[in-house]
Amino acid sequence: MSLPLIPLLCAILAGLGALLIVIAGVGILRMPDLPTRMHASSKAATLGTALILLAVGIWFGEAAVLVRTLLIVLFLLVTAPVAAHMIARAGYRGGVPLAEDTALDEYRPTVTRDAAPRD
């Protein structure tokens, strides 16, 4: 009797991915301000989606499907940091308040120097 190794691997990968996505959902709801919410959502959700798509690609067992899922994963890994960076910068410059107990804000001096000639 042989263990169904590939379905087991797929179930574990996809289950981990779904758990990460649920963590991202909890994080975006519970975190106190914009940067911490993005910290929860962009990284955890990207990794979770990548794990689920990897499991789906292995599950089908065809090269064409695996290549397609790897393409989606690659695209997500390239675009998610860019999108997160742009929203964070726009939000910060737009004056979205940080949480009450923020300990360190190293971006503030850079922004005031950078934004002065613009205004």
């Binding site: 379905p7 797929c10 179930a11 996809a14 289950g15 991915g17 779904a18 758990l19 996505i21 649920v22 991202a24 959902g25 909890v26 975006i28 709801l29 914009l34 919410r37 993005m38 959502s41 962009s42 959700a45 990207t46 979770g48 989606t49 689920i52 798509l53 499991a55 789906v56 599950w59 089908f60 065809e62 064409a64 499907v65 397609r68 899922t69 393409l71 989606i72 695209f75 997500l76 675009t79 998610a80 860019v82 999108a83 742009m86 929203i87 964070a88 910068r89 726009a90 939000g91 410059r93 737009g94 004056g95 979205v96």
Partner: protein
């Protein structure tokens, strides 16, 4: 579809639906526009994952093309929202 694959797939889709519900709560609550944009972005990412799970459960690899298009359009939409925020200067 019956059997263990369908069971695992339905559990996964349930977890993704839970995450979507939490994200929609943040989308409705705000409080600022960037928060809502982040929530929309996360919603679409979860949608990509749900497309993948659906493709596996129903044995239809075509749904992966839907996932590709969804990922592409979401990225463009998020970039457009961020540009709009930065140009208009409001939050």
């Amino acid at each position: 579809m019956t059997g263990p694959i369908a069971t695992v797939g339905n559990v996964l889709l349930g977890l993704l639906a839970l995450a979507m519900a939490l994200t929609v709560a943040r989308l409705l609550r705000g409080p600022s526009l960037p928060d809502r944009i982040v929530a929309l972005d996360l919603l679409a990412t979860i949608g990509v994952a749900a497309c993948g799970v659906y493709a596996a459960v129903h044995d239809q690899p075509v749904f992966l093309d839907v996932a590709i298009v969804m990922a592409l359009i979401t990225f463009v939409g998020t970039i457009a929202f961020a540009r709009y925020l930065e140009e208009s200067g409001r939050s």
